[in-house]
């Protein structure tokens, strides 16, 4: 009996080694068949003058023996606040029409227009089956569903992995398919039509995302493991943001307050807005390199990603985490993330009234050139019974440039990139 027990412990230790190579957690390998393990997290994300999100998430994992696992992931994401519409600031207060065409809010002079009163709740569920087969192979299949007020998504993925060279090398390949339905409040607006829309084109539209993921995991030495992923994503369908608009600004010499005879709007004043329009397809590719390096009990994580697409966007990410273990069961983990992207070819902060309206145009700041920075610190502790608890506090900011094309008249005095400053607090508990 005792011998059997010891053999079981050895098997678990070997499974743990194998799991490390496959990029799966070793913690789960320590579980016995029939066991459930849970990872519960609560995220609080808040932007200055923007969105606030509260996101509880639960990951439950059941051990079916033989290194086979069922993973269930549940997320509820509650969002409130305001988000930039894409419109440009004005010297006068502006009225932002709500997506329904009925509700509207007044924006102060000189501020970036935002769509306020935003409130949505997203619920998402993912189920994943994960098992080895034929000794050196590994298979994973996953299905996910999410729904929110104006969006619904259904997706599935599968991934195969095979170990080579004493399980020092793992090669993986997977595909994913996702179908999304977009049914915005007030319906789908006619692209490039004047805001507010007189009548929606249709109530809803859809899009599909097909993805391929190729991976190579390599044990470099007894303290270092590296992973390289190549990803390809093909989106097709309705890729517009139905709530985003593009301002058209006046380029004619206009009036100034105080003049007896008003000559028209001031130079640079937004005089109208149109709904954005993006291409109906997008092809994204990415290379992602991740490393885990053990350093005298600490762990350094270094990741880099380069991604590019046929919208003209190129992006780089460098991400560092250093897990500093102290007092046996505690760790502090500083986190730095640096992100930079170039603008989409069709991104314009605004249009001049003398411009010909292009076929594709968007003023969504997420398609602009900008730099994002994250600085954070996490404190974690290992409790009795294999439980862990952690708290992280981070700050995320974005800074971008202006658009010389629309720096006309009064626009020269405004910061044309809305900017973003957000705080992130997350607690996590595994048991």
């Amino acid at each position: 009996m005792q011998l059997k027990k010891n053999r079981s412990g050895l098997k678990r230790a070997l499974l743990a080694s194998g799991c490390a190579l496959l990029g799966t957690t070793a913690e789960k390998a320590a579980a016995a068949p029939g066991d459930w393990n849970f990872d519960a997290g609560l995220l609080y994300y808040t932007e200055v003058d923007g969105i606030t999100a509260k996101e509880p998430e639960l990951l439950a994992r059941r051990d079916f023996g033989g290194d086979a696992y069922l993973k269930l992931n549940l997320v509820v994401d509650s969002l409130t606040g305001a988000t930039p519409t894409g419109g440009m600031p004005s010297s006068k207060s502006q009225t932002v029409t709500g997506p329904s065409g009925g509700s509207s809010s007044s924006q102060g002079a000189g501020v970036t227009p935002v769509q306020g009163g935003f409130h949505d709740t997203r619920k998402a569920a993912t189920a994943t089956w994960d098992q080895p087969f034929a000794e050196l192979w590994h298979w994973e299949a996953s299905g996910n569903y999410s729904i929110e007020h104006d969006f619904k998504s259904l997706g599935a993925s599968t991934l195969f992995a095979r170990d080579f060279d004493r399980r020092n090398t793992t090669v993986s390949a997977g595909v994913a398919y996702e179908h999304d339905d977009v049914f915005p409040i007030g319906g789908i607006p006619e692209p490039l039509s004047q805001v507010p829309q007189s009548s929606p084109v249709t109530a809803d539209r859809g899009k599909t995302v097909k993805s391929v993921l190729l991976g190579l995991t390599q044990v470099m030495d007894h303290d270092w493991v590296a992973k390289l992923n190549f990803s390809y994503g093909d989106s097709d369908g309705y890729l517009n943001d139905p709530y985003k608009v593009v301002s058209i600004i006046n380029t004619h010499l206009g009036g100034k307050s105080g003049l007896i005879i008003p000559l028209g709007p001031p130079l640079g004043e937004p005089i109208s807005q149109i709904y954005e329009n993006r291409p109906g397809t997008r092809h994204e590719k990415g290379l992602f390199l991740d490393n885990r390096v053990a350093l005298s009990g600490d762990v350094l994580s270094v990741a880099y990603r380069y991604a590019w697409d046929d919208w003209g966007i190129r992006s780089n990410i460098v991400e560092l985490r250093y897990r500093w273990a102290f007092a046996n069961d505690y760790y502090l983990q500083p986190h730095l993330r640096w992100y930079r992207q170039s603008a989409a070819d069709f991104y314009h902060r605004g249009l001049l009234d003398s411009d010909t309206i292009p076929e594709f145009v968007s003023a969504d700041y997420r398609l602009a050139a900008f730099t994002g920075r994250t600085v954070g610190l996490e404190l974690g502790a290992r409790l009795s019974g294999g439980r862990t608890v952690s708290l992280r506090i981070e700050h995320y900011s974005q800074g971008g440039g202006s658009d010389p094309h629309v720096e006309v008249g009064e626009q020269t005095g405004y910061d044309l990139f809305p900017g973003l400053s957000a705080n992130i607090v997350q607690v996590d508990f595994t048991f």
Partner: protein, 130 residues
């Protein structure tokens, strides 16, 4: 007009201004006949993805990454450890998904705030925020 090795007609992509054409001296297989001659001109630039092409400054990050990857792959023969040397590698914090909930939350945040996402896992997101 250019023919790829598969025999499919292709035109030179205009975005490859710095292509280099290399003539490969290949003996003509008897079974292919005269048609094989049309495949001799082999344009190596067609093997280089568009993102690597351009000015040296533009290609630097990808070039370095490619070199690092090739070095990693070519050095595989001397890489790796024996099963009994995996004590450190088996620690939970050495796994790539050691903090799955935290990584998922981060992916969601950055998916909604930036133009590009994914890399660590499949792209997409199942969220209407972007």
């Amino acid at each position: 007009m250019y023919r790829s090795a598969t025999g499919l007609a292709r035109t030179f992509p205009l975005e490859y201004p710095n292509r280099v054409t290399v003539r490969k001296h290949v003996s003509q297989p008897a079974s292919l006949g005269a048609e094989w001659n049309q495949f001799h001109g082999f344009d190596v630039s067609l093997l280089i993805p568009p993102f690597v092409q351009g000015t040296p400054m533009k290609r630097t990050p990808l070039f370095l990454l490619s070199v690092a990857t090739l070095a990693l792959l070519s050095g595989c023969a001397s890489l790796g450890v024996q099963p009994w040397q995996r004590g450190t590698l088996a620690k939970p914090e050495m796994a790539f998904d050691c903090q799955p909930v935290e990584f998922a939350m981060d992916d969601h945040i950055y998916f909604s705030k930036e133009a590009m996402s994914g890399g660590r896992d499949f792209a997409g997101g199942g969220c209407g925020c972007n």
